[in-house]
Symmetry: C2
Subunit: 675 residues, 2 copies
């Protein structure tokens, strides 16, 4: 990656002398007085481009070439790759579009390039990308026309336009970058490669990622988890629409959408997740421009009561943020520097006529209070407000301080100041989340998916049998076998077949259709409850047999209701088996409360997460044993880790009871992965 | 109000010739070539200020004076008021600070001014304010130094600094105002007076309010409800901290904080509520700069896939917003104007090389589709993006369109364009809320609080008795009497006194301390449950008597649990009795679900709100009769409307059962308002 991002010689294949052409912008961008390496434009018709000597092919270049940038139409690229291989160029950027993003022909073309790259061990960035910029090495190997300041933000983006947009914003804020990479179609190199580079890049203080998809989930997780022990990683993830998910069988399925799993992975890895550009940008800015807060105890300093109250309301709504409580002594000391009418509570109101001297005087006292986490300095431009000087005074005070002093200017946008209370508080919340993560015990690495071997021959034969019958859902008796093997206490059922004896009927029972095709048996009238006595048994049986011809019918004892919990598993295309737990019964859909773990997970971790959750609070309030819930979830976790054939498992509901009565799984659905 | 805001002659008492002094800025701001009225600076020492003839007192002015602006130290103001009264000046602005906001002396001073104003029928704006600006009459009767463009936003603010901040933002956006009023301490004139003015001001298209407190709740409600049938009213309310509310007795009390009641009032009146300046500002801008959307079906047009997907994700999260579905024919027509690789789904991706012509061509087709609600036109500045032209093309297209076309520039902030997807979607959500409100049946006016007369002599005597005993909480038997009178089916209790007969003991019972001082009797060990048989009865009685000496002890039958609901009342200082309903039992604190009504309220309205709520969904799922809940809530509403002495009522829980079994109030707390 070092040679890719810090090449000492660069060939531009498809260089052009026509202004505005990508092949021309690329050469222009590369030309930089401070870059000491060589630049070789490649073109068949010209001798000189932008004052540089042109070669007809990379093969004609005598020196060693570290990096080739290709900006030719897609269909011309294969022979160029051959040239690069012949010239032993290992690092290649394919700028050109016309690949997987553009239909079937493009997809084929991209697969071919992938094959060639793998066979020849080529590092390819793109295709369909903007290139990269390494400011500290003075290399702009992209066709982004914007001026880029050198700085400490590392940026990796799956969208080139997102980069140009951010550069346009950065220009207004004097915000500088270390390395910017446009990933394009990620045929060979992807976010993981560049994350690993930025992790060790001393110039990079904070990393921003814009991603539309993540393919190597576990590897991505491990890379990010390692980085966040040292640097913050901000992830803006687009494409989280839930529209596609409507056809899912079980609650478990619906509860673990792709983005839910990713959010959990980000959280576990200590990365910060964003849905909008605004907060992503503000947080990036705050990480870059200010030291980290010392703790979550904030002080608000303001020259206007109203905006001071607004930001106080907003801070109070964030559970992770708090206010610093001044001692009486501290209040007195600050008060001395201020006019009589000032209020030295928190917010400190230094009044509407405050000038830069008054800001300076009060900040001087605040800087002495070492237990403050951060100061938010609000400026509302009034008659006596010398905004520019106040901003200077704030910067000077911050330089002398052990905590950040963050200027918020309630008025026209000014460089390096935040503009609105909400955006500032949102960014601070994100930073506090990062700091909170750094304090807790580090999570385990996610090993590559390796399922344990399932010891039960019986279960293996059930799966095989179902597959042979082209069923992807278990019969209830088959699900019970799986539960039995893992020690999940489950409600028995009797099949009403020729061997069924009426003497077996329990006092009060439930009668159900047991059929893989009937996904919503309750809604479809396939369940009858509260059946007492043989007469009712017979009429209900008749009804079900009439409505559902030739389907299996089972009966179960109608048991005492407990607190209803859903426990389940779902195979995620990215992370493998995902373990889930949520509130069951009527509350499931009304209150969207769910917990989710990427396997493997320890019992301690399950318990810790449950304790913080609403589910944990319900268990506490209802005097139920949380450990018993942890035990049952752990059993399901084992099922997930030992059965690679499992697509979905849905225990819904499982009843939990007060006292010593064992939890009971009342209904179980098992779906096989036939993909 | 007309003479106040459009005076034909203005005196400035405390005018000054010293630059930077408020008395000087006021005169300078008033001087405007287009203002045809007279300006009279008042000063004892000078003859000419800013080229205008100076008088020594308002009494010396020969002409009639419509408005006096006073900018003198607070202690000098009383004699000036006398002069104004003598000169028959009815409209006065007191700019000066030093009143209620500044301690006890100031408070006295303000009360005195209030008295004088009321006796002499003076319209006073302030004190402690910035003044007002009426752009269409060319009057800047304020000391805000910012230039203000004439336009259609009416602004009323309780903070002068908030106004200067907003003017600073407006400057950058060419956003114009009709009238701006700084309320100050609201001694005489308040938001209601100016709202009534702006309601009828043809120059005002949208009204923004910044408020820190609202004192005349019902009147405010009625004024706003009338305006929102014609114009949007945006309210930014500061000072919503929940800190003060910790010492409240009941769930009901805690559930109806001041801001909860206000939010409900805003919602009922069709006003839009904001917590932060950013969304307030963006929504104001969108109302001002664009026509209203035709419906909630949006089209996203973008030159960059990533940002298009980001905004799509955000729109999908807002239940009030939706996407327009193109017909195949429409897709074909749009497709013709675009390059082959463009995607005509929603978002429409017109590709990274889109210039203003391509934007224009696709907008031309979109404008023809009359069923679109609004178009969001995203621009990410890339190599071929001619941003200024694209913005012009968008404006031109909107002028020809029946729906708004909203430009969002993902880059450096540009005048009249939104910058981030989230802020745009938030503003659109608010506008859709306003439009949805305008469509529904208009709410009733809130009459001034007039309690109906309570017919029951018995209840009146209970209240009197409690007051005489200096108790502010009912004994359980007293609460039962209130419930009986209103037909609320409640769990009986027997007092264990000298007349108590052991034969009266039910099979299973609950034993409780019944004492006004014991607010949390359960937590304090004053409740024993599940008592069976005389032996247990006696030991528990002994324990309670030992722990709670000389306190009343009652017993109740332990009844079958139903679905637990809280119903209550709370007297709000602003709106009078507030009716509440929420989930009871263990879920109360875990899921913060509550409904709130400002009395009086109809059964139909209660039912409509319940249906939309989680509570309604729980009733549906549990097969409970929602009408029975409406009935019980309605009974409590009557209690609220007939008992002016009531401070809080808390029925917690009330059990609701399936089938025909009547709902049952199990515990009842009644608190008397002794204030």
């Amino acid at each position: 990656m070092e040679k890719m991002l810090s090449p000492r010689s660069i060939a531009v294949v498809g260089a052009s002398d026509k202004k505005g052409k990508i092949g021309n912008i690329l050469v222009k961008n590369l030309k930089n007085k401070k870059y000491t390496g060589s630049i070789f434009p490649i073109n068949l018709r010209h001798k000189i481009i932008e004052g540089l000597k042109v070669h007809e092919s990379v093969l004609e270049i005598k020196e060693k070439v570290d990096l080739a940038i290709i900006a030719l139409p897609a269909f011309l690229i294969l022979p160029i790759l051959d040239d690069c291989i012949a010239k032993k160029i290992k690092n290649i950027i394919i700028i050109s579009a016309g690949f997987a993003e553009s239909g079937k022909d493009g997809q084929k073309r991209e697969l071919l390039i992938k094959k060639i790259a793998e066979e020849n061990d080529l590092n390819i960035l793109g295709p369909n990308c903007l290139g990269f910029i390494n400011t500290h090495k003075n290399i702009n190997a992209s066709f982004a026309k914007k001026k880029v300041l050198a700085g400490n933000v590392g940026l990796i983006s799956q969208s080139g336009a997102f980069i140009t947009g951010l550069l346009d914003m950065a220009k207004e804020e004097d915000l500088g970058f270390s390395t910017i990479v446009s990933l394009g179609n990620k045929t060979i190199l992807d976010e993981i490669n560049f994350l690993e580079y930025l992790a060790n890049d001393p110039k990079t203080k904070v990393i921003g990622l814009y991603l539309e998809n993540i393919k190597k989930g576990r590897q991505f997780y491990n890379t990010v988890a390692k980085i966040t022990q040292k640097k913050p990683v901000l992830i803006l993830k687009a494409g989280n629409s839930q529209k596609v998910q409507k056809a899912i069988m079980s609650h478990t399925g619906a509860m673990a959408g792709e983005i839910d799993v990713l959010k959990k992975a980000f959280e576990d890895a200590g990365a910060l997740y964003f849905e909008d550009i605004a907060t992503f940008w503000q947080t990036l800015k705050m990480f870059n421009n200010h030291p980290l807060p010392q703790n979550n105890k904030l002080v608000v300093l303001t020259n206007a009561g109203g905006p001071g109250v607004i930001i106080t309301d907003l801070i109070e709504k964030k559970s992770i943020l708090d206010f610093y409580n001044f001692t009486n002594e501290e209040k007195q000391t600050i008060k001395v520097t201020l006019p009589g009418a000032s209020s030295v509570e928190n917010p400190i109101d230094i009044l509407g006529d405050a000038d830069s001297t008054r800001y300076e005087d009060s900040l001087k006292e605040l800087v002495k209070i070492k237990k403050i986490g951060a100061v938010l300095a609000l400026i509302t431009p009034q008659a006596q407000t010398d905004v520019d000087n106040i901003l200077k005074v704030i910067k000077k005070s911050e330089d002398k301080s052990s905590f950040p002093i963050i200027p918020i200017l309630i008025g026209a946008k000014i460089k390096n100041a935040f503009q609105f209370p909400q955006e500032t508080v949102n960014a601070l919340e994100k930073i506090s989340e990062f700091q909170a993560f750094q304090k807790i015990t580090k999570k385990n690495k996610k090993e590559p998916l390796k399922f344990d071997i399932l010891a039960s021959a019986k279960i293996r034969s059930i799966v095989k049998n179902a597959q042979e019958e082209k069923r992807n859902i278990f019969f209830y008796e088959e699900s019970l076998e799986l539960m039995r093997y893992y020690g999940v206490n489950s409600l028995k059922a009797s099949l009403i077949d020729e061997n069924f004896k009426i003497s077996k009927i329990p006092k009060c029972l439930v009668m159900k259709i047991d059929d893989p095709g009937l996904l919503h048996k309750m809604a479809q009238g396939g369940v009858k409850t509260g059946i007492k006595g043989t007469a009712k048994f017979k009429t209900n049986l008749k009804k079900l047999r009439k409505k559902f011809k030739n389907k299996k019918i089972i009966i179960q004892e109608q048991v005492e209701k407990g607190t209803e919990i859903i426990i389940g598993l779902k195979k995620d295309s990215n992370f493998g088996p995902i373990l889930l737990c949520g509130i069951g019964g009527i509350l499931t859909e009304i209150f969207d409360e769910k917990l989710l773990w990427i396997l493997p997970v320890s019992k301690a971790e399950i318990k810790k997460d449950l304790r913080k959750s609403k589910l944990g609070k319900i268990f506490q309030k209802e005097d139920l044993n949380l450990d018993s819930l942890v035990d049952e979830i752990d059993k399901v976790a084992k099922i997930g880790w030992q059965n690679s054939w499992l697509k979905e498992l849905d225990i819904n509901p499982m009843f939990f009871y007060q006292g010593s009565k064992k939890p009971l799984a009342v209904d179980i659905k098992v779906k096989i992965d036939n993909s």
